[in-house]
Amino acid sequence: MVAQVLHNTPACRQTKRNGRGGYCIKREMWRSHSSTEFPRALELGVALLLCAAGAQAAGTSIPHGTLELVAENQSIAPGHDFYLGLHFQLEKGWHIYWINPGDSGEPPRVKWELPAGLAAGEIEWPTPRRLGTPSIVDFGYEDEVALIVPMHADAKLASQGPEQLAAEVKVLVCREICIPGKAQLSLTIPVKSQAPAPDARTSDLFTAARKSLPQPAPRNWKFSVGDAKDSFVLSANFGHQITQAVFFPLGESQIDNVAPQKLAPTAAGFRLTLRKSDQLRKPIERLKGVLVLSADRAYLIDVPFSKPGAAKNTRDIGIYAAQSLKEAQQK
């Protein structure tokens, strides 16, 4: 209760991250609540305890961080799909992994325990970062990340009383070393017949999470990908020159994660040369992944390979890319 009161004071509001967590208080604030005979050390101790209690309330402990199951809405309702989020907060330097972890590591895995009438979709993965060294490159997230998950609520969901939504999450947390963690998370949320209203406490978190998701590539962008011996060449026609692009492959063992991606800007876009992975034994039919053009511009791409001998010059690229796009849409 004390923490809640202090949480609402102006000094504490500054420590909030994404509208949640961080019940830490500044010592000056505590002083106004404490009597003058309170020894300073004890005062600080109590403040630290409150901090710890606040942090614990905000999430379940995982190695070098916390994890919390959060809901976007205040309630759930029959027939109204909704989102849950897995909010990871990690100590400085520690990271977790993307769906394709890269050369080592593994992505978090979730086992849902849901009441009848609710079904979980797949995690919507935010754009990862390259966590690299000269020998090994991984893909993941540092500091803080929210993995959001679409949930389906059946129209026949009983609309009475609160429901408990639970998840068991297995996560590998790494810095220089890796520590596997397991967290049992749960969330109690009321089921109501009326349409759910957003929860103000989590709205910033979900807004930020959606902003960090790669977007579908605009329809007028044309891509093609060709096989060039030890490399794949991804060509893009956007109608303007592109001077910066990094590709994150969705599939494991397709491209060599360590090899530098060679970008050649062209008048209408770029050509990106990606060294094939040594582990790639069979030809792949499509190159899927996330193309990052700048910090806030990341796109999901799914490009079928050009037929052998096709797209030998740039004039062909448009034609074959158009066919590819059509194919992609038909899929």
Binding site: L172, C174, E176, I177, D278
Partner: protein, 207 residues
């Protein structure tokens, strides 16, 4: 003039000698030769084992993926099973000094005794030379070399890339498959997989 024409030739020669090192160590290619000091004090040359199958196991005793295979007794079982059939098994420690998994010879010998591990030898590779030669990315990454000195398997130990002990009994072990198929005179069906586990703790590793 003479000097300027010589330089490209010299560079080409250098590239020619460097190229096999860059290209080898992968399935279907010649296993790169190495010399290493084992924790038992002996010097090991890979070429001394031509004529035998050789298994390389990248090791880091602090890695939870390695822990899965030692705590379940799986790795020790594999080592005993295959060395008893005349196959050579080298456990390789490529962690740099100060990094997780780095061990001195005596520390490694105590570890082997404690775990009742039974490799032919544990090779100390603190400079990461063997690791880089084979482009080892993770522990426990596994490599199988045939009697002709050709890499016939490179990748994960099995098909369950987790740290859960309960996954060991249900996993398909790629090292067993490669050795069984090769010993039966068959083609190795899965010659290469993505190695799973912890990154090898080379001197340049930060994660």
């Amino acid at each position: 003039m003479k000097r300027s024409t010589l330089y490209p030739i010299l560079i080409a020669l250098l590239l020619c000698t460097a190229l096999p090192l860059i290209l080898s160590g992968k399935t279907g290619e010649a296993a790169p030769e190495f010399t290493a000091t084992a924790s038992n004090g002996k010097t090991v040359h890979l070429s001394d084992y031509r004529g035998k199958y050789v298994v390389l196991e990248w090791h880091n005793n602090g890695c939870p993926y390695v822990g899965k295979h030692y705590n379940s007794g799986n790795m020790q079982k594999l080592q005993k099973q295959w060395t008893s059939r005349g196959i050579v098994w080298f456990t390789i420690l490529s962690s740099a000094p100060g990094k997780q998994g780095y061990m001195t010879a005596s520390e490694e010998n105590s570890y082997l005794a404690k775990e009742q591990a039974a490799p032919t030898a544990a090779l100390l590779d603190p400079a990461g030379q063997i690791g880089h030669l084979y482009d080892a990315k993770t522990s426990p990454q596994m490599v199988v070399i045939n009697p002709q000195g050709v890499v016939i398997y490179d990748g994960a130990i099995d098909d369950k890339p987790t740290t859960d002990l309960e996954d060991v009994p249900t996993a398909t072990n790629y090292v067993n498959l490669a050795l069984e198929q090769a010993l039966a005179g068959k083609q190795v069906e899965t010659p290469s997989t993505r190695p799973y586990g912890c990154s090898v703790k080379y001197a340049d590793s930060t994660h």
